[in-house]
Symmetry: none
Subunit: 520 residues, 2 copies
């Protein structure tokens, strides 16, 4: 935690550059102290805050956001970055050079936004979130529409400030916020063949000769037992509760409000105990990434943060899908669950649980979708967002456009906006350009898992025995400890030996779902 200590890779720099670098690191840490206070304000708003506190909370969030933005855009910070960039010992160091590159990127992005816009975004999204909650509860898009219109306006303004890359479009500027260096066109190049492979696969499954067991649907599990079970599996896979918490929220999420304060939320329903378990594993995957980052003395610096949201999602999906949706996992988890549920899960075998959590069924709700149809939801959102930013779609027309795509892509007639365009929190938060990272993360998870199994051939046996430590250690070594040293594509190549591809996902789906559905 001592930013005054010069990191190894900066030792060769001039005294002047070392001083400037130390000052940069201290400024970033100070800015992060303020940002993480904002994170707590948001977390509290989602998890605990009383109903009437929303308006004032928006002011608190805006104040924090303004303060942290001021620090991140301090001209002295810019001068020090420029000074460090002239020091070849620093820029050529693999670790510190990457850190400096990302510090520059963040400084440029931050200074391009006028502080009025930052405050407007914070305040608008805080109010929009409250409006979205009500709109969703009442399934009344009209309540949310003016807020979303403002969010889209501000997002465009934001994108214009950041500027579209020369080889790209305006939406890229937003996407880059979540997936540094990614371009719309690249996403499209990845999504197009994925869609071409997924669509026939989903049809094949729909007319498959065998149906998976539905035994899991008969289970009713008390919420308190589920809470204890989710706590148990979280701890078992390696989530550190001395630096975290597990709470309940409408929309499960993970947030870090400090290097040793990484909190997750989940949700429970009596009829869907496995959903709660898998959602928890998903968030635990995110949280273990955060807990595994090199924050000890690098908190607040790029090198101490996650590579991208795609990389983040790869960690959550790996624990949710590669592990949590495996037969091996339920072979371990079901017997272990008995002390929490008593006889409530007695009628369920590991094979039945495994089949139950792997059913492919088009669903209105993205987060309740299976591993195959899920990506069609993402592509829908990506296309609509892009059209909104391009000005080819008006906010008022979202419900119509949404429902049309759901019909075409998934064959579903959306009955109301609660099950349609009001289901996700993202837009209310001002997070436009975020959705593609979910699919990028899923693809990466599949590819990382193939690499992990090459390195640890008995991985499945370890899961069956509930010995997760070697698997977590592999992700620590290959993903977590690098922080933001590598861009996601390079991280992928280094960890798996190949560029990111949709092939591992398709192999994963076919090898897992083939036997369940009796596919040839």
């Amino acid at each position: 935690m001592d930013t005054a200590t010069t990191p190894q890779g900066a030792m060769g720099a001039t005294a002047e550059a070392q001083t400037a670098y130390a000052e940069i690191r201290k400024s970033l840490r100070d800015a992060s102290i303020l940002s993480t206070v904002g994170t707590l304000l948001s977390w509290d708003q989602e998890v605990l805050m009383p109903a009437d506190a929303g308006a004032f909370r928006a002011e608190q969030l805006a104040a924090m956001s303004k303060l942290s933005h001021q620090r991140r855009t301090d001209p002295r910070l810019g001068e020090r970055i420029a000074l460090c960039e002239t020091d070849s010992a620093l820029t050529s160091d693999a670790q510190e050079g990457a850190n400096l590159r990302e510090i520059r990127r963040e400084f440029d992005r931050a200074t391009k936004l006028p502080s009025d816009l930052v405050v407007a975004l914070a305040q608008t999204s805080s109010l929009a979130m409250e409006a979205w909650k009500e709109a969703r509860a009442r399934s009344d898009f009209a309540l949310f529409e003016p807020h979303l219109t403002r969010i889209i306006e501000l997002s465009k303004e934001q994108a214009h400030c950041w500027g579209a890359p020369e080889d790209g479009e305006l939406y890229d500027a937003l996407l880059d916020e979540y997936e540094p260096g990614a371009r719309c066109a690249d996403v499209e190049r990845m999504f197009t063949p994925l869609r071409e492979r997924l669509a026939p696969f989903i049809s094949e499954v729909a007319s498959a000769p065998r149906s998976p067991s539905e035994a899991i649907d008969k289970i009713r599990a008390p919420i308190d037992a589920q809470k204890a079970f989710c706590h148990f599996i979280s701890e078992a896979v390696g989530y550190d509760f001395s630096a975290g918490r597990l709470d309940v929220s409408t929309h499960p999420f993970t947030e870090s409000m400090g290097p040793r304060d990484v909190r997750i939320t989940t949700r429970y329903s009596e009829a869907h105990f496995a959903d709660a378990s898998l959602t928890t594993l998903h968030e635990v995957g995110h949280a273990m990434y955060e807990q595994g980052l090199p924050t000890q003395d690098r908190f607040g610096e790029p090198i101490g943060t996650y590579a991208s949201l795609g990389a983040h999602e790869s960690q959550s999906r790996l624990w949710e899908n590669q592990i949590g949706r495996s037969l091996a996992f339920w072979t371990w988890a079901l017997p272990a669950s008995r002390k929490f549920f008593g006889g409530a899960l007695a009628g369920l075998s590991p094979q039945q649980a495994f089949e139950g959590v792997n059913r492919v069924r088009p669903h209105f709700i993205r987060v309740e979708s299976d591993e195959a149809t899920y990506h069609l939801h993402i592509m829908l959102r990506f296309d609509l967002e892009r059209a909104l930013i391009r000005g080819e779609l008006n906010v008022a027309d979202i419900p119509g456009a949404w429902n049309e795509r759901m019909k075409r892509d998934l064959g579903l007639v959306v009955p109301d906006d609660r099950l349609g365009c009001l289901q996700d929190i993202h837009w209310s938060m001002g997070a436009v350009g975020y959705f593609p990272t979910y699919t990028i993360g899923s693809l990466l998870a599949c590819q990382l898992w193939e690499a992990l199994v090459r390195d640890i051939p008995d991985a499945r046996t370890l899961v069956e025995k509930g010995e997760f430590a070697p698997l977590l250690a592999w992700t620590r070594t290959n993903v977590h400890t690098h922080g933001r040293r590598y861009r996601t594509d390079e991280l992928c190549e280094r960890a798996t030996g190949a560029p990111l591809s949709h092939e591992p996902l398709m192999r994963h789906l076919r090898s897992k779902l083939g036997p369940i559905y009796g596919l040839s």
Copy 2:
């Protein structure tokens, strides 16, 4: 919430003064936005924060405290205050004049402390609190002694900066922080006759012919049922959950993190369901005061805050003692409790509950003491604190002085410092001068209750019926809506028609405890 709107009482001021006044109000609101963020950080630390997050949380708290202090000591704020003070329309207005007087007081107190001293106090108390925790756990005063010595030195320095009033002593400067305008000599004038009346009364009770029922000691009530019951009574008396929460913490407290976000905590034990109920009522009393303050458009200004800690304590004690410890309350609460506890409280009658929560028993621990002996604990602390600040007592001699007083005043031989001078957190926090406000609040509660019963003669019947709204409305009108317009003594006179006195407390004790103990 619009500080740009000129309040009625400032309408006659010059345009220049109106502008300055609006700017002052905006600065104070901004400073409060930052202070309340700090409040959330503290609340979270007490209630939820993971174990390993403490070190970083201290940095977050320090950052917020520095930011809000900067705003409160901004020289431009001082210039604007001076300008407004030259405007007789403002200074002569009953409401705005009082607001301005308190704004001046707070600005002067904040700017009189050199920032070195502020930092030294923050650092010392942070270390002192850790040392106190350990010293208390090990019951080893020597571990705490050097820290407390430093705290007392710094408190004296602080008092010197603030300055003793011409008609008073150094300790007054500290007391004034918690009880604006109060003087040591006044406190002594109130405490001396109270002690003279309490001592024989406690002896009389000790040798009373009748003993109160102990039936309540046999009750074991499940924690979950207690939680639901405490939620129920909180809501029933008028605590607004849409602007609040009820959680659990080791030391129960109330905190406002916004005008519509006033949270309380309590604690539960299976064997002491009534303690949890009364502790909750105590915190609810504090919280309803906060919820009743005129914060709508005056948040952050003195006029929108509580009058003093004594006034605050009067509101908690009124609901805890005047109402919660009455027979009328248990006549209502016990039947109402059935749907939460099932048969768990079946063996208990209202009379038995009433007697159980009103037993007078000298106790080592202040916060576990009854309404009569409690004040001897306060007087002990007041006398020791004053002697420390006067230099008549050395820190090293505290345990001896403490134990001697406990023997003399309460007839108790303190077995170790954990049950003696290490029991309270206040000194470790640097809060010297705080204790007297507890007794001031209790006296005021009794006096307010007598006035309330004069105005609402059927108050007890209303309590029996669970109709608390008229009682809360009375406190709203007579206490809450005034904010800090009046000093506590004036507030008391206006609400009760008489200066604050120990007589109502003595009448309250005798009329309630007389029959229970069979006193003549």
